[in-house]
Assembly symmetry: C2
Amino acid sequence: MVAARAGVSTATVSLVANGKTRGRVSEDNISRVRNAIAELGYVVDGIGSSLAKGVSSIVILVAPDISNPFFAKVIAGVRESLGSEYQLLLSVTDAGEFPRADDVRKLMALRPAGLLVDAPDAGFLEELSVAGPLVLLDAPGLEAYAPSVNLDVAHGARELAAHLAASGHGRVAYVDSVTGTATFDVRRNAFLQEAAARGISVPPECIISTTIDVGAAAAAFAGAWPQWQRNGVTAVVCGTDTHAYGVLQEARVAGARIPEELAVAGFDDLPYSATSNPSLTSVHLPATPLGLKAGAQLRSLMEGRVLEQPQVTLESSLVVRGSTA
Amino acid sequence: MVAARAGVSTATVSLVANGKTRGRVSEDNISRVRNAIAELGYVVDGIGSSLAKGVSSIVILVAPDISNPFFAKVIAGVRESLGSEYQLLLSVTDAGEFPRADDVRKLMALRPAGLLVDAPDAGFLEELSVAGPLVLLDAPGLEAYAPSVNLDVAHGARELAAHLAASGHGRVAYVDSVTGTATFDVRRNAFLQEAAARGISVPPECIISTTIDVGAAAAAFAGAWPQWQRNGVTAVVCGTDTHAYGVLQEARVAGARIPEELAVAGFDDLPYSATSNPSLTSVHLPATPLGLKAGAQLRSLMEGRVLEQPQVTLESSLVVRGSTA
DNA sequence: CTGAAAGCGCTTACAG
DNA sequence: CTGAAAGCGCTTACAG
């Protein structure tokens, strides 16, 4: 239709629509085609285009926990660095569950231009074996599989241990996340190691784990607190702020004054952590920069460039607030 | 490849892969093809299939505020009712901003099987003019454009006014959202109307609005509170819980005791509202059911069925907590 | 029940 | 600089 209107072949229209006119189309025809496109409101059909080109303009972001507010910022970052020529398709699953490689293979049938995978486990990547551009987010220890953008969450974890030691805490409990995501292992291990080095004891019976859910964490804490209290626990570190909200809630119910009798801290620095009462000490993770950088890396890959720095690590740092001060 | 392996034509393979074998393919060939598919790990190419069929299996969800935790639940609901044969593509924008119809037209080039639009304004729908299956979410007053699933947020708003009146509040302030989304108008109007009916005064200078952001709301409240206090305001109603978190935070800074000197309430009943200190009185909105129902309606449409009930409204209700009790 | 063939809307060598 | 033609991977009447 556009070709007919402009009086040229469809090949010429395609060239103009894709901006590949350099020395291939006359000025005259370029403007005829542009006019025809504008008048008809023509938009290149993505399906036909994808089939001919072999790839679509879709970028798929695979993530296990979209309900985490942290994630919204990651998405915003990815979108910004990807620009408007790529469409971002979110492959979401139920909170904490990871998509089966089988599901993702179905998504691959859409011929995505690139793939972004947040917080995967090795088995998933093993099974997946993507051919095209792929960037991992928050996948510590999996650098061998693909270029990745990681968070140096261990740094913040160590800061937290140092902060608690400096505040005089000698016995601390840890509320972990049950998901096997690598970041939670890093958080816990880095904290425990630094805590031990600074003379803080975290006995095995003071480490519990629950799903990432305020209610679940509250219930687990309620069950464990009486014994912890008898054992002299004066601080609880939580794998995520969400867990910490549950602990804060339940601690109030149990009548433990915060931070005088019980200090509480978490990871993620969610938006509400600055607002809760008491406000929550937390390890801040740069969510937007994470998305931004991962999007930029993927874009380089998709445009055929070679990454000058395939492995990137972003800093984390402790934000001290009322719950431990 | 599959056809060659099974010793049949590609047409037969297509029939089997799409499950359209009823009386068209022999049992013998069906199993040959199935085996070949399994052995080769073949997945129907979505692009080729879409081009031939005219539509893809993509469902696009357009939404203005993905950073709202409320939204994660809506998505979970949509995913569940859509099932695995459709892929959900999220068209996200920066918080509070709505995609331009132009952007969406680009998405339409992907030939989506259906479109879900959350919290649109009339102008957007006017400009859009979709041909295919379309369902609106949370679009009060726009029922004329398409089948929609709405929240009866007015009901909860009236309950809130009644609750405040019963608690003895005579002068109340309102912190609104600046986005022109219809739901915020409904919330405010329903509250103001019921408040007036119950003898609560909400003077014009006691109505302010900010973006949906804890910090912005906090700053706006900080600026307005001194005058409000002089005017005898004893309660603040916020268009969203996010606004309310900012008010809670700033009220503490200003030394106003909650709820004794100042009652605070919001809308949305976000997960953290149950956990904040004091916990936040809020109008609960059924996010998951909203997504569930919208997905189900769209699915009916995509499968060619006629909706027996094109307009659906879900209940909202007040949850009273410590911030007003 | 089966397969050859046309066609979906594009892009891209290729010949001119 | 331009256009005819092949081809991307499927699906679907159609003829047998």
